[in-house]
């Protein structure tokens, strides 16, 4: 009797400890979820705070005098003259007029660096559209160089980053700011231009187009093939070793690292079939193989969820097995299959590693403007910029990232 009393006492004594450990355990769970959610929050806040700057670019107001002598042209109709004209002279003279006190070669060269390299071409396009401007003077907002842009944005934020500017340039920007001749404007280049070596001229248009092309190809190939495979495995395949083998293969492929698919694409499509690098079709084929397991697995789940009574009713009405599948099972399973397709496409859109290997990046560095680069490759490419410039540059260029994130 006293023994059981002892035990009861022991249990009573341990109750406090046990309830404390219960609370602790609960707390661990809460902390784990809090950490996970904090990670989500940190990721999004980081991307948005670093990427939103890309929507705005710095513009400088100058008086441009469209001087035919300076350009070295006689008429605007002559295409070859336009090609050879000295468009940079327009921006240079405009800057010289604005800062007439600047003299000396070195200072002048620094002065010219205030504006982006491509502004001459922008003026050319503007002049071709408005030929009456030739010989006139016009006040115009022109795109600033990326270093100026970085400095101006960081200066507005209160922590100026002037490591890449000279003292004179900083003074000039102060002067411009006091006169109200420098401001942030909507960055139109971002959505309309392709890749460029000049960060301020670069846009994501080419990348978006490349991604869309590849994605369309992937969808067109992987959805029908995936659905067909799922139909076969669920509705027609007899349960035997061969079917098991196919299933094992599909499940394994779903977990194979994506970079291995890149190796496959490189060895088979490029090395064996000699498909040229960097065309969207190679990317599309590799991504098709990669997303196929996902689509097959989700499609099979969707087909499984169609109630057997539907099949039996159709069979009872005298439909053949194919008619049952095509007329009854498939329409009912379609929403589930489309979910799988969307998941697969999101995966394909964000996938980068295999595309780097099959060279959707490097050839494009050569043909910069002419061929589309894939969107996910964009942020990777930016990591090639010199480390000293990276952090400030990102104020402009994390947008593609942000875009990637939102698309998924």
């Amino acid at each position: 009797m006293s023994n059981s009393m002892d035990n009861l006492q022991k249990i009573k004594n341990s109750l406090k400890r046990r309830s404390r450990s219960e609370t602790r355990f609960r707390l661990y769970g809460r902390v784990a979820i809090a950490i996970g959610l904090a990670a989500v929050l940190a990721l999004f806040v980081d991307i948005v705070s670093k990427g939103h700057g890309a929507f705005k670019a710095t513009y400088i107001q100058v008086d441009v005098h469209y001087d035919a002598d300076l350009l070295g042209i006689t008429s605007l109709a002559d295409e070859s003259q336009l090609m050879q004209a000295n468009w940079d002279a327009l921006t240079k003279s405009a800057l010289r007029n604005k800062f007439s006190e600047v003299s000396g070669r070195r200072d002048k060269r620094q002065l010219y660096k205030l504006l982006s390299n491509g502004t001459g071409f922008d003026l050319k396009e503007h002049l071709v559209v408005n030929p009456l401007l030739l010989g006139e003077t016009e006040s115009k907002w022109l795109l600033a160089d990326d270093d100026i842009d970085t400095y101006y944005k960081s200066w507005l934020d209160g922590e100026p980053y002037d490591a890449r500017l000279s003292k004179k340039q900083v003074e000039w920007i102060d002067q411009l700011h006091q006169q109200g001749h420098i401001r942030l404007q909507l960055n139109t280049n971002l959505l309309t231009r392709g890749d460029s070596r000049e960060p301020e001229q670069a846009g994501i248009y080419g990348a978006v187009m490349g991604s869309l092309l590849t994605l369309m190809l992937t969808l067109m190939l992987s959805f029908p093939i995936g659905v067909a495979a799922a139909i076969y495995l669920e509705e027609f395949a007899s349960k035997n070793r061969f079917t098991d083998f196919i299933e094992v293969n599909i499940n394994n492929l779903a977990a194979v690292p994506s970079i291995i698919f890149g190796l496959l694409g490189l060895a088979v499509f490029i090395n064996f079939f000699h498909v040229p690098r960097s065309v969207p079709i190679v990317g599309g084929l590799v991504l098709t193989l990669m997303t196929l397991p996902t689509i097959i697995i989700t499609s099979r789940a969707a087909i499984k969820s169609v109630p057997p009574s539907i099949r039996e009713a159709a069979l009872g009405m005298g439909a053949s097995r194919y008619q049952v599948v095509l007329h009854h099972v498939l329409p009912l399973a379609l929403p589930g299959m489309l979910t799988g397709a969307i998941i697969g496409m999101a995966q394909a859109l964000g996938e980068t590693a295999p595309l780097l290997i099959i060279g959707l990046l490097h050839l494009l560095r050569i043909f910069l403007r002419f061929l589309p680069i894939l969107l996910p490759c964009c942020p990777y490419k930016f990591s090639y910029w010199p480390i000293a410039q990276r952090e400030p540059l990102l104020k402009r260029h994390q947008l593609p990232l942000w875009y990637c994130c939102h698309s998924c």
């Binding site: 784990a32 970079i259 990591s383």
Partner: protein, 462 residues
């Protein structure tokens, strides 16, 4: 005719065949008293004609496109005059490219030897002939098929069965694509690896302690030893994966337990999808996050405490990779925990155990095989993860177990070896395939084992 035009033409002919077949079946049926006297519906007769017309020629078209270039190249290179014959494979490829460019007219023939131009001309000629033979072959096959499909149409012809037979084979072909992909991966990685192991012994690769894949082009080049010891890469990969697992396993597991056992319905409906957002973020975004936010933060933090943390530390890459894997582990663990029968929990609670004791002593042991499998799948994902480490981890192969230093991984090396211009026969390029083989083997074993456990476990409670 251009191949793509030919393809469209075949499709158009197929459509014509469909209408002819359908029309004939109706024409055959009318004198008998309507289509109920046909064995199959008219559309099946049409489809049958379409398949007969388009399928054989399309198969020929695809096979031709795959094999015509190697065959033409073989003929052309076989017919080379002795003074042009290349000595090495590299020369061979170079010459082939040159001839092909000359034949396409991409390269100007100015200044090229006359014999080379003659070879290029013969190549261009062969290409034209090949295209015409293909066109003729496809058209003949399509016509014969069309005629055959039309000829076979009769009231008692079992058109539906015939069409369904073809369809079944097409479906089977689609399902077999998974096998072909696996075979393709194995062969593409294996062949290049075997070539690699011819120049670098297998044991030097697997047990070598020094990795510097720059092979010397000149004899006296500095810093290009070309040694391929992969141990530092394996160690680096394991180090980063270990850091990732230290983050992901406790957090993922505890959040799964909390969501499955403790939380109310509202918390679950909001917290679970919010955590799963992490799984949908592209890995390249994580890479950016690691390289530009986490790594500098850790470096500055370390500096405050007097620690030198490399700005490409394994810690930063591992932490972010761990965050990426959290939803993976939590959703797998959630599945297995909810699959544990309620009766087991009730039994434990009835014996007077607290909720946490029930979870720790009853639910977790019951769910353990599934959790282990989930963790193994997560490890295989961490080992194969590429973009985070490419952007956040280092390039230099260092043999260290210190997570504060910079290490490199298998996947990083594959990417760096293969991006940019490369030739296919240098050990440097082939090394990437050998690394790929290792990666594929390890992840495959992990996956098979994990899937096996999951399958076995599922059967236990169903």
């Amino acid at each position: 005719m251009d191949s793509s035009n030919l393809f469209l033409l075949m499709l158009a002919l197929g459509a014509v065949a469909f209408y002819i077949g359908r029309g004939r079946s109706l024409a055959v049926a009318t004198p008998l008293g309507g289509i109920r006297h046909l064995h199959s519906l008219p559309n099946y007769y049409g489809l049958n004609a379409l398949l007969w017309c388009a399928l054989p020629s399309l198969i020929i078209l695809v096979l031709w496109l795959i094999f015509d270039e190697p065959v033409i190249n073989g003929i052309v290179m076989g017919s080379l005059p002795a003074d042009l014959a290349p000595l090495t494979t590299a020369d061979y490829n170079l010459l082939l490219n040159k001839i092909s460019n000359l034949a396409d007219g991409i390269m100007s023939s100015k200044g090229q030897p006359a014999s080379l131009i003659a070879v290029a001309d013969s190549m261009a000629g062969l290409r034209v002939i090949s295209q015409w033979v293909l066109t003729a072959l496809c058209l003949i096959l399509a016509t014969i098929g069309l005629y055959w499909g039309w000829y076979k149409i009769a009231p008692d012809f079992r058109a539906r069965q015939s069409v369904e037979k073809v369809m079944e084979n097409l479906l089977l072909g689609c399902a077999c694509l998974a096998i072909f992909t696996t075979v393709g991966i194995v062969f593409s990685v294996l062949f290049e690896s075997i070539q690699f192991f011819r120049s670098v012994p297998f044991f030097d690769f697997v047990f070598g302690l020094d990795w510097s894949p720059q092979t010397a082009i000149r004899e006296d080049q500095v810093g290009s030893s070309g040694s391929f010891g992969a141990v530092p890469l394996f160690v680096g990969t394991l180090l980063i994966s270990a850091v990732a697992m230290f983050v992901a396993v406790p957090i993922g597991l505890m959040s799964a337990i909390y969501l499955a056992e403790y939380s109310g319905k509202t918390v679950r409906t909001y917290a679970k999808p919010a955590l799963e957002v992490l799984a949908g973020v592209p890995t390249v975004v994580y890479g950016f996050f690691a390289a530009l936010t986490v790594a500098p933060f850790l470096r500055d933090l370390g500096a405050d405490f007097g620690l030198t943390i490399s700005s490409e530390s394994a810690l930063a890459a591992g932490l972010v990779m761990g965050v990426m894997i959290i939803p993976f582990i939590s959703s797998l663990a959630d599945d297995v925990i909810t699959a544990v029968p309620q009766s087991m929990r009730d039994g434990s609670l009835a014996m007077g155990a607290t909720h946490s004791e029930t979870v720790r002593r009853v639910v977790i042991p019951a769910a353990l095989p599934g959790i282990v499998a989930g963790v193994m799948l997560a490890i295989s994902r961490a080992i194969g993860e590429t973009m985070i480490v490419v952007m956040a981890a280092g390039l230099a192969a260092k043999l260290t177990a210190n997570p504060l230093e910079s290490v490199t991984t298998v996947t990083v090396q594959i990417v760096t070896l293969l991006t940019g211009d490369q030739e296919f026969d240098s050990p440097k390029t082939l090394a990437a395939f050998a690394l790929g083989l290792m990666l594929f083997t390890v992840t495959l074993l992990l996956n098979i084992f994990a899937l096996h456990i999951v399958k076995k476990y599922r059967e236990q409670y169903e």
